[in-house]
Symmetry: C2
Subunit: 456 residues, 2 copies
């Protein structure tokens, strides 16, 4: 996929050269001649990747990179540093400034393009989430912070190397910062017994094909989003390119420099945790909008939306659908006698008993103070009545133990089945049945008569 | 990126052949020998794409495709039909069954792989959203339905063809179902004056480079997610492949068959609307968790999360931060005198006046019944006090017009600035200042003394 690349270089000739190369490959190019200009563009415009010259007057590439990675609005943009020197120390310095990769001038097409494609592909995957997470993160107030020292440490790394002693070497190199789990066969990589933050695969191994393993990890739902770091030989460029295409995130070439390896691992672990933070905050926000915080059951809003879909489906498929509305008898007395804390605990335990009686396809919600509803798809009235009666008995059977109290609780249940009337009618009829159950003396199940409200 | 492909064919030799081809390219392969088996696998496992033989006993490929596209749990999986014949009528029949593309046996590697890569890339982009939208859609109860006839119609198509008469031809072919906006130069495509549901670009045009245009559309934020359909000549395969790589979604080869063109356009428009539905439902759900439904301002939960971040930022940067808490004076009397409907309308209008007085960086929330808060970053106490006083005057200046009433409303404001104490302290001090404003006779602004609660 095409992408928008910002080229930052103080030399006009370098900018032109890079622009020509990228444009030829159908990338869109933005240009900046200094660090401050680059920062400004990244803040204002959509940029998919920054190609950043290291040696610039005033503000060098390391500093620009550090600033991009420190700002919440720009830290998600991948940065590739470009330098004239190929000094190991410079590489590490760049990676430690937060760069995602490092290329040496003259920049050759193939490694450049495969790197750009792999980095922008990953960015686009999280862009969808990021946009939404910006709002969500404020609700959830995730404590994640890409800039924090610890974000890239204490990872769980699963390493599959050519030989066992190589895995030990990796362990020696990075074991002080991370936990290393050596894998001796592909199965251990594909079905890890513990959660993994990063896979390290040895492209030079002969006993297994690291590219195949890479593709398997990317095809499995559980490992699709776990980063992969390839260990390659000095001559492995074609296979590295292939690996990046298949979904590997980064690579390190032999001879392994411990600091470079550490820096690359940190970058991958940070990014993984950042993505997880995004997902979690969107997820949690969605839950906040759907879950009743006291009982953990769904809320009224969720039930209403779900009921509309479930009844439409039921009408279309001709399969039955039942709704139960339950109410705790004399709940006000419990609150008045023992206080709200005890009342809340009774609600929680009540919800727990409801949850225990659910089948996988049922859905339970708290729809009011002491009122709950159960949606039972594919269930006819007779089976639903049986389930309602069992639930009523389960509530009555044992008193609720709260603090040192044993509080007897009973419930009334109204029950209705969908008979072609519109969804609101269904809840209404279950509600009327509940009211009848209350009037008839509580602690009982009443089934709505199909005829009672069949009129207009 | 690698992906998991389900190959469906009743002939063992065909399955083996296809498996070998795909595996060679590092795709993961699942096999099914019949339609029912394929449906079962798609329901149970993660599948990124289905390669579906058309001619099978019992249930043919068209029927399998229709069923996959009718089920909410499987409709997002791309389907490529494979047939022995190259009959135009079969192609169209397959596309109308909901297939994303159509390949003719013997299936050659290049078109197959470029198609798989393009379709699975698009799928992975929406997977992130889809997982979350499954929950969200129940809350929002989006009425979108991929199966509906109308989902693929009434699109707004921007067509950039080799010659104006070609654009007219496209209009004749599909104008009955869609609105066609012909573009005569690239600028009209890149900066459309109206929303566009699909771009149609002519690969055979000489006056412009359709691939370049494709890459521009994919690099712009506004058009990144709008589908692109390429019109190609019979010999254009290499450029089609390049176009799909750059982010085009589909293509149609000359001589153009009207039914095929219509079917492909419908598929693209449906998918776009499906994706938009996903985005909207996630977005709306997030808003439900953050917005006060009565006034449209943020809710307490959002303010708390945001305040934590804003005050941390203020401490780090050393820039000031102020909080205002506003309360409608004697609001209970309004409710008691005029009823809740009028009271709610007063709250809405009050919120509107607050909103009008905001600067872009301020944040307003309703934090209780008649209580509101304003967060003012980069604002010192003196400026905030000025703003608070102006807001108080704005409330008092004109009575609130509700129904035929003119209700005079005043407000009390408490104000505090962050002085190194922790965020909760900030809200607390503003609250105490508000209480002081009430006690001093209401309709006034009181600034929290920095010393008042500086102690432990």
């Amino acid at each position: 996929m095409s992408a928008r690349i910002l080229v930052v270089d103080d030399m006009p000739v370098n900018r032109r050269l890079m622009q020509a190369q990228l444009s030829e490959e159908y990338f869109e190019v933005l240009l900046a001649s200094s660090g401050p200009e680059a920062l400004d563009i990244c803040r204002r415009e959509m940029v998919d990747l920054v190609l950043l010259d290291v040696m610039m007057p005033d503000m060098d590439g390391y500093e620009v990179c550090r600033r991009l990675k420190a700002e919440p609005t720009t830290l998600h943009i991948p940065v590739v540093l470009v330098t004239a020197l190929d000094q190991q120390a410079d590489r590490v310095r760049g990676l430690e400034a937060g760069a995602d990769d490092f290329l040496t001038k003259p920049v050759r097409g193939l490694p450049l393009f495969s790197r750009i494609r792999s980095l922008t592909r990953l960015k686009m995957l999280t862009d969808e989430l990021r946009v939404r997470a910006e709002t969500a993160a404020r609700v959830v107030a995730e404590p994640w912070d890409l800039g924090a020292e610890t974000m890239g440490r204490n990872g769980r790394l699963c390493a599959m190397m050519a030989r066992p002693e190589e895995a030990l070497r990796v362990k020696r190199l990075v074991g002080a910062e991370h936990m290393i789990m050596p894998a001796v066969e592909p199965d251990a990589v594909l079905n890890p017994t513990e959660p993994v933050d990063l896979f390290i695969l040895d492209l030079q191994a002969e006993a297994f094909d690291a590219l195949r393993l890479c593709s398997r990890l990317r095809s499995n739902e559980g490992t699709r989003q776990t980063p992969i770091l390839l260990i390659a030989g000095p001559e492995d460029e074609a296979r590295i390119t292939r690996g990046l295409e298949l979904g590997a995130n980064d690579y390190c070439q032999r001879p392994l420099d411990p600091n470079e390896l550490l820096a690359r691992i940190r970058t991958q672990i940070k990014r993984k945790r950042y993505d997880e933070g995004l997902r979690r905050s969107v997820q949690t926000t969605i839950e906040l909008a759907t879950i009743d915080p006291l009982t953990g059951l769904y809320n009224r809003r969720f039930l209403d939306g779900h009921l509309a879909q479930a009844s439409e489906q039921s009408v279309r498929s001709g399969r039955p659908l039942c709704v139960l509305i339950l109410d705790i008898d004399h709940f006000k007395q419990i609150n008045d006698t023992y206080g709200h804390d005890v009342g809340d605990e009774v609600l929680r335990q009540f919800a727990e008993r409801v949850r225990r009686s659910l089948r996988a396809s049922d859905l339970a919600a708290r729809i009011g103070g002491e009122e709950f509803a159960l949606l039972m798809p594919d269930t006819d009235l007779a089976s639903a009545e049986g389930a309602a009666e069992r639930l009523r008995e389960l509530i009555e059977a044992e008193p609720f133990e709260v603090q040192d109290l044993a509080i007897p609780v009973t419930s009334s249940v109204g029950l209705a089945s969908l008979n072609g009337v519109e969804p609101r009618g269904l809840m209404k009829r279950a509600d009327i049945a509940l009211y009848d159950a209350k009037r008839a003396g509580r602690n009982r199940v009443v089934v709505a008569s199909d005829l009672s409200t069949a009129g207009p």
